[in-house]
Amino acid sequence: MDLAYSQEHEAYRDEVRRFLENNKDKAPGSGSTAQDWQQLLIENGYAARTIPTEYGGAGQEPDILKSHILAEEFAHAKVPPGHSGDNRIVPVLLELGTEEQKQRFIGPTIRGEMQWCQGYSEPGSGSDLASLQTKAHVDGDDFVINGQKIWTSGAKTAHMMFCLVRTEPDAPKHQGISYLLIPMGTPGMDVRPLKQMTGDSFFNEVFFTDCRVPTTEIIGKRGEGWNVANATLKHERGGLGDPNQAESRFRDILELMKTETIDGQRLIDIPSFRDRAMALQARVLAMKFNGMRVLSHTIKGEEPGLPRWIVKLQGCELNHQTAALAIDVMGELGILYDESPYVRNHGMWQHRYMMDLGLIIGGGTAQIQKNIIGERALGLPKEPKFDKPI
């Protein structure tokens, strides 16, 4: 057990802090755009850190601890962190894309000029994703796609979709899928927004009718799409339930409870509220230290096991509970929304309370997470299968 950082890492932390101090005013929102901010971060090695310079990244040695320090310091300074483009598609391109695909897609993606959406779920295929029915057949040099995707976040504004389609209808369920890259706006593609419970319309349905993409726009070979997708799901799962986020949200709650009053009494001075806040703080800390444990194993190249399997389930639930406490301590103010008079933080907590529930469902539902923990981490027997071949 050694919680001290090496001199190199302490120096790195200082450097990041200094950078944030000097450049905080350039963060998006205060005049500059998200893209300018990202560009500045890449130039300084704080975004797209490990992506090779030939693809527009900062080209630095992988150093999990430095990435962790970055995440911590940006969260602490409440400044939007840099990104590596899209943590679902960029790792896949790097791992499995052709040289031509890497050249064409990675640079614009990490600069934030090219946005992606994920075309996986379908009306009949959610948790049971491998049952998906959207089909593509080859005609000349093209795949011709027919079918429908749903819950596609960001499809209205995205430039590209990475998409799972069935190309080998006669192969077993998991072996008939291919992973295609489709420019949004390709003829035969129709995007229809779906309104969410939050009132936003970030979700979409995407319909394909004889939509054509060249057969070269595939990652991996035909029929290998399921494995390619699992490579991305792994990256996505790592991101949901981030303990840094829970910690910074908890700090926000304490602030709220110290500043808001009811009958002239600070919320933190009400014992029942204070007790709930303390119970939540213990959870936040436990997940933070669990994250440190996962990190320590990862640095050593060891599989963390159970501490990692639980992060999505526990972390997303914790975020939801944090928002729930904020709403509860606000009492009647907790129902105000959008730009209502008296609304606090523009309805952020109300929005998060709903959004965090969405994240408990999205990216593998809580129940699916429990199946995974039970079967993979605890070795419990699987449910008998009643799958039919596609």
């Binding site: 119970a279 800390l285 320590s296 429990k370 199946n371």
Partner: protein, 363 residues
């Protein structure tokens, strides 16, 4: 940065767990309980040979001189085995009190005896954690009067470390004049608590505890940390038994662990318990490495482990069906140990309030 156990810590853990697996199986626990004993002398002696009673006592005083993380790993192992041996009070709280509050002479006198296991010191600090019925412990010149309740490890003790109503800590010999000891029967048959009544009983105050509350608070912290770690071990044992049972027990022609209702109970226990391990490690590590955080972390560990422990204890019992409710299986030994740890030295609400106070959140 390395948030994991060192090689030496893992070896310590393995040796204690290994010793308990072979020398303190459930049969041995049951034998002691059926005989109304809260100490299995053979197990206690064996642990003595491993140096456990002196685990946190500095080497200069004949101890092993290890830290609180090591002490917590031992507590976890004892909880895992529901071992009927004195530990939290005599091996951890008492030496912490003597180190922090004793004069040089008092350290020389008490620490070697405690470290060798020759003297068992029970600890009664309820006067300062949450006084119930007692009329309080009043100190006069070198003597104490009053009643101390919930004195931990009191049946085995050769001496008692008792907090008075001002927070000072006193050492009292087991055979001191005017001392009466009453066993309090608890749900947990693997540990003992007693009530001590004192009537102008000769006592020696730990020299530095009249001017500072810090030794008292450090003693309570150490005890809470051990109870949290004990619960971690006990809850992990309940989870492990549940998983094993769910793989083996069949109903409707399939293992019950293949039913999602059962699988999810197990997954929820694991998901709740696993982060607790990191919380206990961090709290234990912080005692010496980050002392300014230690009290807060220990309060959180104590309260949170109590909550998760309770959840695991009832859920694991449910996974076992009717068998879980029987004496035959013995799962209840862990259930009760977890219940005991929850209530002692401050139940969760009380300890959470202290967590708030430590951070300056109580106006």
């Amino acid at each position: 940065m390395e948030f994991m156990l060192s090689e030496e810590q893992r070896m310590l853990q393995e040796s204690v767990v290994g010793y308990l697996e072979s020398h303190c199986p459930l049969d041995r626990v049951r034998k002691a309980a059926d005989a109304g004993e809260t100490i299995a002398n053979d197990v206690s002696d064996g642990l003595g040979e491993l140096g456990i009673p002196g685990i946190v006592v500095p080497e200069d005083y004949g101890g092993v001189g290890l830290g609180f993380l090591e002490a917590a790993l031992v507590a976890e192992a004892l909880g895992g085995a529901v071992a009927p041996v004195p530990y939290s009070a005599t091996s951890i709280m008492a030496p912490v009190a003597v180190l922090a509050g004793g004069s040089d002479r008092q350290r020389d006198e008490w620490l070697p005896k405690i470290a060798s296991g020759e003297t068992i010191v029970a600890v009664g600090v309820n006067e300062q954690v949450g006084r119930r019925e007692s009329e309080g412990i009043l100190a006069s010149q070198d003597a104490l009067s009053g009643k101390a309740m919930f004195v931990l490890e009191g049946m085995e003790a050769d001496a008692y470390l008792i907090a008075d109503s001002s927070g000072a800590l006193h050492m009292i010999a087991g055979d001191a004049q005017g001392l009466e000891r009453t066993k309090l029967k608890t749900i947990d048959r693997t540990r003992s608590v007693v009530e001590i009544s004192l009537n102008a009983t000769p006592a020696e105050v730990l020299a530095n505890t009249t001017s500072s509350r810090e030794p008292l608070l450090a003693t309570i912290d150490a005890g809470r940390l051990m109870l949290a770690a004990d619960t971690l071990g006990a809850a992990q044992a309940m989870l492990d038994q549940s998983v094993a049972y769910a793989k083996e027990r069949r109903q409707f022609n399939r293992p019950i662990g293949s039913f999602q209702a059962v699988k999810h109970m197990c997954a929820e226990m694991a998901a709740e318990l696993e982060p607790c391990r990191s919380l206990v490690w961090y709290a234990a590590h912080s005692v010496r490495a980050i002392p300014e955080e230690a009290r807060l972390m220990i309060c959180h560990a104590k309260a949170h482990l109590s909550e998760v422990g309770r959840f695991v204890a009832r859920t694991a019992t449910e996974v076992h069906g009717g068998m879980g409710f029987t004496d035959l299986l013995g799962l209840h030994y862990w259930f009760k140990r977890i219940g005991f740890n929850r209530q002692l030295l401050g139940a969760p609400e009380l300890v959470r309030e202290e967590a708030a106070r430590v951070q300056g959140l109580v106006g």
